[in-house]
């Protein structure tokens, strides 16, 4: 048998079915919030049933119009965005957008947020009552909310209280999406776990800036925006790894800069139970399907039969031989 045949045979044997806590997933690859709208624009390009799941654009109780333009700009190996959490609002979401998602038979994660405690709770309650939502992904990390939104995502005690308050009003599992802008990512994850979150998603975008020197102006209207794409992958990996080591067994959905099957496998090895793909979907609407096949092939090649086998399978580097100064 030559190498090629054995790889093909192995990748046929790879099983991508997996789970996130108690939640079954057809594959560990989901679309990231804000990068897949409510899935409709992608239907013309890709068979959406091939995805492991979809995290929707963040939903708030009332519709939001979003920020002034320019809202996005490309940066080295990434992009900055300041969309301003534009969304259709809970009512229109449940009426117009959820039915399509529900029909796909993939895991439906509804990303949501508020601007204060009351609106977070209101949103969790309204969405939690709906059929066909597998996870409420609570965004406490968007750097774009002007009114102190950054607070929820960076102070563990506040995140704990907010998570507890939302968990109390719904039976739908809540996954808290963490901000890399938090000083203590492990402290944040531990706080929301303690408050009843069934898992965490990380990382959201990292606050950044770009300048047009010829016009002496910031490149996006809000001056600062969220950096995404391959530029942030090393940070995402590091944070997933830290949380996985500190909270063994606690489900983590990893993301930040995934463009290939190898990127996805890195996140699984760091300890993520599943991953989301965001920015890659803009240039390539079928990116997640390609990445799924790349992951299957790579796992076959490396003799990793199941996703569970990949999760956290990272090994420590061997220690260096001790240095002894010449006598």
């Amino acid at each position: 048998m030559n190498m090629h045949e054995s790889t093909d045979a192995n990748s046929r044997a790879v099983e991508l079915n997996c789970s996130f806590g108690h939640l079954p997933l057809k594959t560990p690859l989901l679309a990231a919030s804000g990068c897949f709208a409510y899935a409709e624009p992608f239907a013309q390009f890709v068979d959406l049933r091939l995805l492991g799941g979809i995290s929707t654009k963040g939903i708030s109780p009332l519709p939001r119009h979003g920020n002034p333009l320019p809202r996005i700009c490309e940066t080295a190996s990434g992009m900055l965005n300041s969309i301003g959490l534009e969304n259709v609002g809970v009512d229109a979401f449940l009426r117009d957008k959820l039915p399509l998602l529900r029909e796909l038979g993939v895991s439906v994660w509804v990303n949501f947020f508020g601007t204060d405690f009351e609106t977070y709770i209101e949103c969790a309650r309204a969405l939690g009552g709906a059929d066909g939502i597998d996870v409420l992904e609570m965004n406490i990390s968007c750097p774009n909310i002007k009114k102190g939104g950054i607070e929820f995502g960076t102070v563990p005690e506040v995140a704990h209280r907010l998570t507890r308050a939302c968990v109390d009003v719904t039976d739908t599992p809540i996954v808290v999406k963490l901000s890399p802008n938090a000083g203590d990512i492990v402290g944040m994850a531990a706080a929301v776990k303690e408050a009843g979150a069934c898992g965490v998603s990380l990382i959201n975008t990292i606050t950044g800036m770009a300048i047009d020197v010829r016009r002496r102006r910031p490149r996006i209207a809000t001056t600062y925006g969220g950096l995404s794409g391959p530029a942030i992958k090393p940070i995402g990996l590091r944070m997933v790894h830290q949380v996985a080591r500190a909270l063994p067994g606690f489900p983590i959905c990893g993301m930040g800069g995934i463009l290939s099957g190898e990127d996805a496998l890195e996140y699984l090895m760091a300890g993520a139970h599943c991953v989301q793909v965001g920015t890659a979907c803009f240039a390539e609407p079928g990116a997640i399907v390609r990445i799924t096949e790349e992951l299957r092939g790579l796992m076959g090649e490396l003799n990793i039969a199941t996703v569970a086998d990949a999760i956290g399978c990272l090994e420590a580097l061997p220690p260096e031989v001790e240095y002894r100064a010449p006598r």
Binding site: P41, Q44, F282
Partner: protein, 267 residues
């Protein structure tokens, strides 16, 4: 019409004057591009690795059949610099046709096509289609640039029998000054003649703002083909907001436009 993403190869990279170049592509399989309306666009991305993530948007210059299309470009940044260096056979990925184009030419209306710089392609295609389907007198091109080298593909308009009014800032060809001067004169002439006109424009934003003012002041239907930073091109990222008057403060350049009614645009 749904869009598709497909692989293409460069057939020709033809340099024009003024740093402009025409890239002609062949798709690997038949794609729904021949029916593209003037103003519709294609997102193009090369084998750019991880450094440049986002595709670049280009108006479709021409799509003669379901395997071929071309664009007009000029070097503006890192993406277009790489595209200028493309050679026959080089691969790219295309997503098309995207967006909503200009209203079609029709008998009884003269469409004044006001173009500046790299805004020529959708109006070039509008003229091509109009000359073929309605007649060359249904459109007229008003075309401005800094100098003679900035005005490209003029021979096509001559071939189709479409009248052109040229303006250059240095006076090297046509009237000296901005194209908007020629536009004002042409609108006056139409008024005197009782001619029904529409303004269709694409080009640099300062020019579009001026065309909008002129069109609104003259109370003539005016359509602007706008440009915004785009990441996806198909309504997923919400990055390409355009400020508008209406029930909502923003619409989207890629999916609601790129062509907008000037009355709607909140400038």
């Amino acid at each position: 019409m749904p869009a598709a993403q497909f692989d293409v190869r460069v057939v020709e990279n033809r340099a024009l004057t003024g740093g402009y170049f025409v890239l002609e592509f062949e798709a690997a399989r038949p794609v729904p591009i021949a029916a593209a309306r003037p103003g519709q666009f294609v997102m193009l991305r090369g084998d750019w690795g991880r450094e440049l993530l986002n595709p670049r948007a280009f108006s479709i210059l021409h799509a003669p059949d379901d395997r071929h299309f071309s664009i007009l470009a000029k070097v503006y940044g890192r993406g277009t610099a790489r595209m200028a260096a493309l050679a026959p056979g080089d691969p790219m990925t295309a997503t098309a046709p995207l967006g909503v184009g200009f209203p079609a030419a029709r008998a009884g209306v003269t469409q004044l096509l006001v173009a500046g710089g790299v805004g020529l392609p959708p109006l070039h295609l509008q003229a091509r289609v109009a000359a073929r389907e309605v007649g060359p007198r249904s459109v007229e091109l008003l075309y401005g640039g800094r100098n003679r080298d900035d005005l490209v593909l003029l021979e096509d308009f001559a071939r189709w029998g479409v009248q052109t009014h040229l303006a250059t800032e240095d006076g090297s060809v046509g009237a000296r000054g901005y194209v908007t001067v020629a536009l004002r004169e042409r609108i006056e002439l139409a008024r005197a003649r009782g001619e029904v006109i529409e303004l269709l424009s694409c080009g640099p934003t300062p020019m579009l703002r001026a065309v909008r003012e002129i069109g609104l002041a003259a109370a003539r239907p005016t359509y602007l083909c706008l440009e915004e930073n785009m990441a996806c091109g198909f309504g997923a990222c919400l990055g390409c907001a355009v400020p508008v008057h209406g029930p909502k403060p923003y619409r989207y350049c890629c999916s609601d436009g790129p062509v907008f009614d000037a009355r709607e645009v909140r400038w």
